[in-house]
Amino acid sequence: METSFAITGKGYVLMAADTTAARSIVKMKTDEDKIKTLSPHLLMAYSGEPGDTVQFAEYVERNIRLYQIRNVYALRPAAAASWIRRSLAESLRSRKPYSVNLLLGGYDTSSYNPQLFWIDYLGTMTEVPFAAHGYGAYFALSLLDRYHDPSASLEEGLDTLRRCIDEVSKRLVVTPGKYKVKIVDKDGVREIEL
């Protein structure tokens, strides 16, 4: 089942999302990228109703890009998160709401802080040190309560992330096979092989 995690560390946010695209009980694809790069220092992992997810993610991606083109500089992570949250909250009370859950990880280049936001399809938003969506959340969050360290180095952060993925593989009935892992820090966004 769909699962995504994100954790903050010393100067970075790590994000991981499974790569399965499934319709009902059938796996259609196993290399789907569910983490979008919204701006040079902003990542968004999305999950939820197939169709809604890609549509909403692209809508967000284009609007954040438009802001950057118009104003030279990109929105800061917190401002982008607020805008995205508002989009979901407005959608919730529309005729056909988007059913999309998000993790938003960014690095604020003016305050030099990594930031992580947990956002659900209702438009609920909170800034957290670590977060997860999907069935994996039930296993990962308790594990992260024990092992998460906000001042962990990248290596330590990756170890914690591996723990989460292993735990979900061990305990969840229908486990996602592969994960894509991305990091955002002062140097921007890049992909990491676990």
Partner: protein
């Protein structure tokens, strides 16, 4: 299970002697799963008014933004700060605008209002999710632990408590009521408002 219980959380406000207090727990959940243990649902409106917004998490953020917008426009146009009574009616009318598709929030307000003689007197109020105002003289409660809060507050509150005693009373009331509620907890934040200062303290509760 009602949508009001989806994210959990509770708020209480109490009147003291020349002071008021407002407090909330810090949990944000997704049904039974805790997501955050540092979710702020009490917000400053002016130097002397605080509002607590227990209910659905998405509407906490939306209403906070709307109230800030309306209060800022009021402050700019009137060139003075809004009074608690006026703010209470602003809250009420904002909620009633959505009478047939409401925000799932039951706001609690606490503040010190100016008297004609130049002094200040305590003010607390609460509304239901469509804006029906309740001006209480002792305490108001709302959120998933409201039924428990009533019981404890009824037992602990007394008139004319000094700021420090009021702090103790509201803290004990909230922490003990939250302990009996599965959807509230993870510590609390308490604001004591007096005529010239605000005391804010973050409390640890049973962190389990």
């Amino acid at each position: 299970m009602s949508i009001m219980d989806h994210n959990g959380g509770s708020v209480i406000a109490m009147v003291g002697k020349d002071c008021v207090a407002i407090a909330s727990d810090l949990r944000l959940g997704d049904r039974a799963l805790s997501i955050s243990s540092n979710f702020q649902r009490i917000f400053p409106i002016t130097d002397r008014i605080y509002v607590g917004l227990p209910g659905l998490g998405t509407d906490v953020a939306t209403l906070r933004e709307r109230f800030r917008f309306r209060v800022n426009m009021y402050t700019i146009k009137e060139e003075r700060e809004i009074e608690p009574e006026t703010f209470a009616h602003l809250v009420s009318s904002t909620l009633y605008e959505h009478r047939f598709g409401p925000y799932f929030i039951e706001p609690v307000m606490a503040g010190m209002s100016k008297t004609p003689s130049g002094g200040y007197k305590p003010f607390i109020a609460a509304t239901d999710l469509i804006g029906c105002l309740n001006f209480a003289k002792d305490f108001v409660v709302a959120g998933t632990a409201s039924s428990k809060l009533y019981g404890v507050a009824e037992g602990l509150w007394e008139p004319d408590l000094e700021p420090e005693d009021l702090f103790e009373t509201i803290s004990q009331t909230l922490l003990n009521a939250a302990d009996r509620d599965a959807f509230s907890g993870w510590g609390a934040i308490v604001h004591i408002i007096t005529k010239d200062k605000i005391i804010t303290r973050t409390l640890k509760g049973r962190m389990d």
